[in-house]
């Protein structure tokens, strides 16, 4: 009976959504007698997933669950996010620009000069409210299972940021098969459950485990009739790229044609699906290397690296499917909205040759191997090469960490039976900060404004995307609205159909460029010379964005990977290095005195 009542209310909600009145509906429909009609929200976040890495966006990787989402919802083909992890998560969960939310970059890449500023700590500030807090206060159950990476101290953990039940990884990544770190920066993989350190089970595989925990959380409160918000930030497909053998085997031989062939094939499928315009052209990243110049053994190895990557994506999809099955079996599916996206574009930082001595040595230093036969299994440290990472982002240019479209444009699907538009594409611009206001709108939860719980907070600047879900409007950003973004000097400003962009070395040239990213998502035709007025106006608007959001100039000599390396050395070896240097200071005068005594004329 309760289930029927819930379905009825959900149907009402769907009708109201179709009328473009989601907030009003949800607020009016809540009644203790009628049960809580507000929809459940399942927010699924992949890690480092490229623009065409899933089937509904043009991938050859089989993702039937995500394809089913696409059939019951709206695919956003012009959705953008931050170019790396924590800044994206900060915007997704707060609706506030990442600089204002205290996360201009991941803490692992912040320079000491930047850390002197309160908003450059790389952890979620206390000046923002998460969507989880807002939903929890509105009566939702709030669950999280996956990677957090927005602060590991007690007051920053997800259990203190609105999630009532959590199992969360605090680091930028970790092994998918066991509890071990993937970078020497960490001495362990820092997993926490409900705010306390925890130990992973023996049979751990990340995607399976995260869905198991999500189902466990949902199941524990299923009977009380309250809706839930489940946030599932997967570790897939962040490095180390690892997948169960059965999933990898499905892609044996699929990538034998190399990355250029794959990049072209994905472009054609994306055109056929309507994800990008028919005239879309490609840039070819020099970093991708020459497939034809590889030996047969190298090609075989590279194809397997990518097969593991594809297997990891399909494994993620398979386990999302288990959650969907669970929700169907328990009568919750029809009243659930699914949001699927990625934190940033594909990762192009993997070594071109994973079997090279330096790569083997790096993996061995952490107790990993890179053997072909066991690639992707427990103990294996796998990545994809820059070549296949470029194919993963096809037809876009650049990668994660860069402001090219390949780093910032990712798939977004918002789906659910109760949504009025099914199997729909929208080319409207959308931004990471839009997810929180959209969830709040879908659930009828008021936005926090400039104060929340008695203290000042950054107001939400994202836009509610529900008019695009209902078809009420074609775009939620007007032609003159501007959205700025900065990461370690890489910069972008979106305005209308245009994008002003600067990519710094090593892959960029540090020059401002102007593209029409609706007609030219591949960023091939630079319009700066053709449209000088727009070019200058957008540059001025970007300067305003910098000032309004406290974007700091880059420290001299800064590089992302160089800073990551020095921060790693400092974190792991500071004590030993300090003792060594002080010893040197003390002993040097004695050594010099000894040498002078020996050198002195007798």
């Amino acid at each position: 009976m309760a289930d029927r009542r819930r379905r009825w209310c959900a149907t009402l909600a769907g009708l109201a959504l179709a009328a473009g009145l989601p907030n009003v509906l949800a607020a009016e429909a809540v009644s203790p007698d009628a049960g809580d009609p507000r929809p459940n929200i399942v927010f699924i976040l992949a890690d480092d997933l490229g623009f065409t890495d899933i089937a509904p966006f043009g991938s050859e990787v089989q993702t039937p669950t995500l394809s089913a989402f696409a059939e019951t919802g709206v695919r956003f083909t012009n959705y953008h996010t931050a170019a790396n992890c924590a800044p994206a998560r900060a915007m997704l969960l707060t609706g506030v620009n990442n600089h204002l939310a205290g996360v201009p970059n991941i803490p692992e890449m912040l320079a000491p000069e930047q850390r002197r500023h309160a908003h450059y700590q790389g952890v979620l500030g206390d000046n923002v409210v998460t969507v989880a807090t807002l939903l929890e206060d509105a009566g939702y159950h709030t669950y999280m299972a996956g990677k957090w990476h927005l602060g590991a101290s007690a007051d920053k953990r997800p259990s203190r940021r609105g999630f009532s039940r959590t199992v969360a990884l605090m680091d930028s990544g970790a092994d998918n098969w066991e509890q071990r770190p993937y970078l020497p920066l960490y001495d362990r993989a820092n997993w926490f459950a409900d705010g306390e350190p925890t130990t992973l089970p023996e049979d751990f595989y990340s995607s399976r485990f995260l869905i198991d925990k999500t189902i466990e959380f949902i199941d524990s409160n299923l009977q009380d009739g309250k809706p839930f918000f489940a946030y599932i930030p997967f570790m897939a497909v962040h490095m180390p790229v690892q997948a169960p053998q059965a999933f990898t085997d499905r892609y044996s031989g699929v990538y034998d044609g190399g990355w250029d062939e794959l990049r072209r094939a994905r472009l054609q499928r994306a055109i056929a699906l309507g994800i990008v315009p028919p005239q879309t052209a490609l840039q070819w990243m020099e970093s991708r290397g020459d497939w034809d110049a590889l030996t047969a053994d190298r090609r075989r190895y590279e194809a397997k690296r990518m097969a593991v990557y594809a297997g990891m994506i399909e494994a993620m999809d398979f386990h999302i499917g288990r959650l969907v099955d669970y929700l169907r079996a328990h009568g919750e599916y029809a009243n659930t909205v699914f949001i699927f996206t990625s934190d940033n574009g594909s990762e192009g930082s993997g070594p071109a040759d994973q079997e090279a001595l330096s790569s083997r040595f790096g993996a061995a230093m952490m107790g990993y191997h890179v053997d072909y036969e066991r690639l992707g299994l427990q103990g294996s440290y796998n990545t994809i090469s820059p070549g296949f990472a470029s194919a993963a982002a096809s037809p876009l240019a650049f990668y994660k960490f860069y402001t090219g479209e390949g780093g910032m444009r990712v798939p977004l699907i918002i789906a659910g039976d109760l949504l009025p538009r099914h199997n729909t594409l929208t080319p409207a611009f959308a931004w990471a900060t839009d997810i929180t206001p959209t969830i709040l709108s879908l659930t009828g939860t008021p936005l926090p404004g400039a104060r929340y719980a008695g203290k000042p907070v950054q107001p939400i600047t994202g836009r509610d995307l529900t008019p695009l879900l209902t078809g009420e409007r074609e775009r939620v950003y007007a032609e003159h609205d501007a959205v700025g973004y900065e990461l370690t000097g890489h910069a972008a400003l979106f305005q209308g159909d245009y994008k002003l962009v600067l990519n710094r070395p090593p892959l960029g040239d540090g020059q401002w460029r102007l593209y029409n990213i609706v007609s030219d998502p591949g960023e091939v035709v630079d319009l700066a010379a053709q449209q000088p007025d727009r070019f200058r106006a957008m540059q001025l608007r970007y300067q305003r964005f910098q000032a309004e959001n406290g974007v700091l100039p880059l420290p001299p000599g800064y590089s992302q990977m160089g800073q990551l390396l020095t921060n790693t050395v400092k974190a792991r070896y500071a004590d030993a290095l300090g003792v060594l240097l002080v010893s040197l200071l003390v002993l040097l005068p004695f050594y010099v005195a000894y040498r002078m005594r020996r050198s002195a004329p007798r």
Binding site: E113, R115, T566, K570, A574, L577, G578, L581, L585, P589
Partner: protein, 128 residues
């Protein structure tokens, strides 16, 4: 062997002259040389310390190296070695203890030249 020794002398002479020039620049045009060390010029006592101490450092460094080369007295290499080694160690400790930037572009030349001077002190012949 004389060719190797002469090459070593040239390798010592070049940085010695650069250090002397840097020291002189600190005395007569500090605004041009300060950015090379990541510095902005202070005012008042701060400016006095910057010009006085840094000119003293670089002139002493370069002078010790030149004296060692010209006199053939190897003892003179050691003050220069200590100045460079302490500077490099100090930079790393500044990074470790005080959140300064790890200035590898400055540390590396200091370490390399200090090692070069150690080699010179051991293998260049002592004057009679």
């Amino acid at each position: 062997m004389p060719i190797t020794q002469n090459a070593l002398r040239v390798l010592v002479l070049v940085p010695a002259l650069l250090f002397i020039v840097t020291g002189v620049r600190w005395l007569i045009a500090p605004a041009g040389v300060a950015p090379m060390l990541g510095l902005t010029l202070e005012e008042g006592i701060g400016l006095s310390s910057q010009i006085g101490d840094l000119a003293g450092f670089f002139l002493t460094l370069g002078a010790c190296m030149l004296i060692a080369l010209i006199s053939g007295r190897r003892l003179w290499y050691y003050p220069a070695i200590m100045l460079l080694a302490f500077a490099a160690v100090g930079r790393v400790l500044a990074w470790l203890l005080h959140d300064a930037a790890l200035a590898l572009q400055l540390i590396a030349p200091e370490v390399i030249i200090a090692l070069l001077l150690l080699v010179a002190a051991r293998y260049l012949p002592e004057a009679d």
